[in-house]
Structure formats: C-alpha cells, structure tokens
C-alpha cells in the first residue's frame, strides 16, 4: 500500500467514526429530550378532558390530533414515550444485574454452570409474553408488577452471551498463563475478563431497551399491563381501537409510529455503540 492510499484510508476511518458518533449523539439527544420533556409537561392539564376540542384530526395546533375527550394526542404520546423509556431503563438495569450475576456464577464450576444453563433455558423456553404476564401477576400486577415482570424476564440473551464469553476467556491459554504467574482469581477477573465483556454488557443493555419497551406496550395493550389511567402507549393504542371504526385513524397511527421510531432509535444506538466499542468484531 502506498503512503497516499494509507492516508486516504485513515481519513475514511475517522469519517466513519465521526459519522457513527454523530448518529449516536443525535439519537441520544432525541431520547433524552423525550424523557426530559415529561418533567416539563403539566400532566393534569394534558390529561383533563376538553370537550370543545374532541376528535380533531391532526393540525398545526394539535400535531397528532385530539381524542374523544379533547386531549392533545401529541402530549399524550410524549408522556407515553416517557413512561416507555422509564420502564425500559428500569428493566434493563434489573436484567443486566441478573445476567451478570448468572454469567459470573456459571464460571464457578461445572455443576453451577449446568444449573445456570438450565435456568436460562427454562426461562428462554416459556413464551415471553406469557412469562411477563405470569411474573407481573405474581408481583400483584399494576405498575410495580409490570416493571418487575419486564425487568425480570429480559436477561436471558445477555446471560447466555456473557456465560459463553466468560467460558471462552476462562479456557484460553493466556488465562492459564496468568494463573502460573501467580495472579489471583480476582485479579484475573478484573484485568482480563471484565475489560473483554464490558462492551458486550453495554451493547446488551442498550439492545434490551427496545425489547422491554415493546413488551411493556404489548401487555399494556392486552390489558395485563399498566393500569388504564397511565398515559402509556399500550393503553393509548388499546383505547383507540374502539374509535378506529369511526375513522379516527390518528388516535392509533401516530402513537404507534412514535413507539416504533423510539424502538428503532435504540436499535440504531445499540448498533453504533457496538461499532465504536468493538470495531473489529462489528466488521466480522
């Protein structure tokens, strides 16, 4: 390769990196502003009925139209997305903790490993929606039930990845050598294993969001999730079903689209962060 070619490639690389950073930054900005906007919106004002304004189609004044109680659908959607992000964040935290604990446990010895694998397979084999509903009921339903259920059922893929990854690292020759250098288990975990799995954890957490958000919306839609008075997207969608036949299409269309957009944003961030943290494996 000649010198100029090398330089060109260098510039291209920087561009790719910058592009990835910019995309991630914009996506994050949108997410954060949606979430933060919830704290500035006057919930009671948005959620009280206004009968002068019922069932307005989308306009400049009401971007997403209004519902049968005259509430602004854009504001309701924003609040709903805020809840989705909150539930997603909480679920991701719980699920990540569970996944890390199981991944680390599995490396203790083969018996523990088999137990962990069995637990992962067990949870993985029950239909996810059903599992969420069951766990939610077990926690007494309601807001608390849903959040716990979504949180406690999303760790399986990450736990599986971490278990496999830790196993691979643990059987590698450089870990054996580290033992022969007299390094302790803690030292090896901290210096060798943790840095190798941290990028997987971060990406795993981000990619957990969209799943958690979609599942919360689904079970709220089905009526097993958040209580009807919460302005969640699932609730909005299930209410608007009654009005679809009357031609009030905007009640479901825009909130549904926004939810989809939110989910895609998280996927986009996850993918790009993966590229940033782990350029080699992302190319493979």
């Amino acid at each position: 390769m000649t010198k100029t070619e090398e330089n060109k490639q260098g510039i291209l690389n920087i561009n790719l990196r910058t592009k990835t950073l910019i995309i991630t930054g914009i996506a994050l900005l949108i997410l954060i502003s949606v979430f933060v906007s919830n704290y500035f919106i006057d919930h009671t004002a948005v959620l009280t009925s206004n009968f002068y304004n019922v069932n307005q189609p989308p306009s400049f004044e009401h971007w997403f139209g209004t519902d049968w109680m005259g509430r602004d659908m854009f504001m309701r959607t924003l609040l709903g997305l805020g809840i989705s992000i909150g539930v997603g964040a909480f679920a991701s935290i719980i699920s990540t903790i569970v996944a890390i604990l199981l991944g680390v446990f599995s490396s203790v010895n083969t018996v523990v490993d088999e137990i962990v694998t069995a637990v992962i397979d067990l949870f993985g084999s029950i239909p996810h929606i059903l599992l969420i509903i069951l766990v939610s009921l077990a926690f007494g339903g309601g807001y608390y039930g849903v959040v716990m259920a979504v949180g406690l059922t999303h760790w399986t893929p990450l736990a599986r990845i971490l278990r496999a990854e830790i196993k691979k690292i643990n059987t590698s020759e450089y870990i054996k050598l580290s033992n022969e250098f007299g390094k302790s288990k803690m030292w090896i975990a901290r210096k060798h294993i943790f840095p190798l799995i941290i990028s997987q954890i971060i990406v795993g957490v981000i990619l957990m969001f969209p799943h958690a958000i979609m599942h919360e919306a689904s079970i709220s839609f089905l009526g097993f999730g958040l209580p009807a008075h919460e302005p969640a997207i699932g609730i909005i969608l299930s209410e608007s079903m009654k009005y679809l036949s009357m031609g009030y299409w905007w009640l479901a269309f825009y909130p549904g689209l926004s939810l989809l957009f939110l989910v895609l944003l998280f996927d986009l961030i996850g993918e790009n962060v993966h590229k940033l943290l782990d350029p080699q494996s992302a190319q493979e």
């Binding site: 020759e173 054996k176 050598l177 033992n179 022969e180 250098f181 007299g182 840095p195 190798l196």
Partner: protein, 201 residues
C-alpha cells in the same frame, strides 16, 4: 542448586494414552534438549511440567517440593506466542503481567520501546516471541520449558533469540528444557539430548 524432578507421570486424553510412566530430572545449570516425533506428546509433557495441565498422575517437584500457588518457578514458552497474550492488551501490559525488565535486557532481546503501545496483532511472530521469552524469564523463574519456540522464525531471528535466551538463563542459573524436532538446533545449543521415547515406557 535446584533440581526439577518428574516421577511416574501418566496422562491420557480420554482413552488416548499420551504419557505413560514418565521419569525425568534436570538441574538448573543445564540446557537439555527433548526430542521426539511429532504427535508423540512433547507439548503435553510441557503442559504437565508447567501447570497448564493439572489432572495427571505422578509428581513434578523442585527440590522435592511440589510448586504451590503463587508464581510458578517452572515457566512455559509456547510455540504460538499470540495464544498466550490477551488480544486486547497492549504489549507493555502483557510483559508487565510477569515483570518489567530493565533497559539493558530489553535491548538485549531487541525489543523496541515503540512496540509497548501496540496490540499483539500488530507485531510479527518473532517480535511477539521476544516478549514471551522475556516474560518467562522473571527473576523467580528456575526452569524454562521452551516448546518449539523458534519453529516459525527465520534463521537469523532464531539464532538471535536463542543467543539472548541462553545467555540470560546461564547468568541467572535457570535450567532450560529445549523441545524441538530440529535435531541440528538441539545439537548446537544443548548440553545433552533426551528422547521422549527413552523416558517413557
């Protein structure tokens, strides 16, 4: 004087018998060659010696004691240095995991300081091997087991590496077991040569 002693060692992979009733001993002022056919179990023996394989019958002792915990005074140098280096570590960390030699030693082994900030994938096999040799020559090391460490190197690098390794080993009274299927090499650098088939049954 330190004596490395291997007594009645047996090892198999499943039902595949590799080492049967192996007996061997050497002292820390010796450089001994170990010769054997490919697939005869030389590498397996090296792993038994250095703790990479732990489930074997028999004993490996230094001065009558089984090395226990902490830094293993019997250190292995591998044929493939990249396999014993964390791919995400810079070379400085790779070396420092064992110890940090002084500038003279680094020069003696031809290690350029600029390599310290590179990853293992950014160095050639010969360059990596210099690191893994120096890493094994920790001040606490009493025996070096060198398993085909120069097989994939060119003649010049090979000569350089053996020169530096043996010089330092002799100076620090470190015993070296040179494993190779290259008879000429063994004849040139070793005090004596042992055949794996002679020390096993």
């Amino acid at each position: 004087m330190d004596v490395l002693k291997v007594e009645n060692v047996n090892f198999n992979y499943g039902s595949h018998k590799i080492l049967t009733n192996l007996n061997f001993s050497m002292e820390n002022n010796q450089v001994i060659g170990l010769f054997g056919d490919s697939g005869s179990g030389k590498s397996t023996f090296c792993k038994v010696l250095t703790g990479f394989i732990k489930e074997y019958e028999g004993t490996v002792t230094i001065n009558g004691e089984v090395p226990q915990g902490g830094f293993n005074p019997i250190q292995l140098i591998y044929q493939h240095p990249e396999k014993v280096m964390n791919p995400r570590w810079k070379m400085r960390d790779v070396l420092e995991e064992s110890w940090m030699p002084d500038d003279n030693l680094l020069d003696e082994f031809g290690i350029k300081r600029e390599w310290f900030n590179r990853y293992p994938s950014e160095l050639s096999g010969g360059e990596l091997q210099r690191f893994s040799i120096l890493r094994a020559l920790n001040p606490n090391t009493k025996f070096i087991i060198a398993d085909e460490i120069s097989t994939m190197l060119d003649a010049v690098t090979q000569a350089q590496i053996w020169d530096s390794l043996l010089k330092l080993a002799r100076k620090n009274n470190v015993g070296v077991l040179v494993v190779s299927h290259d008879k000429k090499l063994l004849n040139r650098i070793c005090d004596s040569i042992v055949y794996l088939s002679d020390i096993t049954e």
